[in-house]
Symmetry: C2
Subunit: 108 residues, 2 copies
């Protein structure tokens, strides 16, 4: 998977998840990896970008709000969300967005 | 500045800027720092979140599309954008989004 998501022409949707972690791994890395794999199998998934440097930012892209809702309610994802609140995150913010326009650059 | 932007009630706008860098710093860090400071002084600026881990993700938040357009056309920002293409980035993608909904969590 490229580090920059190969998304289609807008409009599509983005979920910006910004977080600060608690100390220690507490099986976070393994679960995070599983969740990216599982998300990428869901209907309507378009791609994901992720980086952590103090703050963590994960942006996932979806073809509809319904796809985002379905993923939020996925059983294994609900388990991960619950562990997120109990063990992994000091704080987070989730923002549901409509991507209206995009453009890019690639070095020749 | 907190690592997670303290944005108002939606709707507002987000610019998701995802990039891969060339090798070496080439005065990037200094300019990136300047651009965050300058952006935060612009009318309509609401906050910024940034992390690099292989890929870099910077999300800036704005109160209107007009504020985003004005910042894109700011003279010093235009100089930085030009250096971005000539020196700093292998590839990037910019996505202009409307934040429709958000929610968060903070450990008690």
């Amino acid at each position: 998977m490229s580090a920059i998501a190969n998304t289609p022409q807008p409009p599509y949707y983005a979920v910006i998840f910004t977080s600060e972690r608690t100390d220690g791994d507490n099986q976070y890395a393994e679960m995070a990896d599983q969740m990216v794999k599982l998300a990428s199998l869901q209907p309507g998934f378009l791609g994901v970008e992720s980086a952590r440097e103090g703050v963590g930012i994960t942006v996932s892209y979806w073809d509809s709000l319904e796809a985002i809702r379905n993923w939020k309610q996925h059983e294994q994802h609900l388990t991960a969300q619950s562990k997120g609140i109990s063990d992994w995150y000091l704080t987070y913010k989730t923002r549901i967005c409509k991507v209206e326009r995009d453009y890019g650059f690639e070095k020749a």
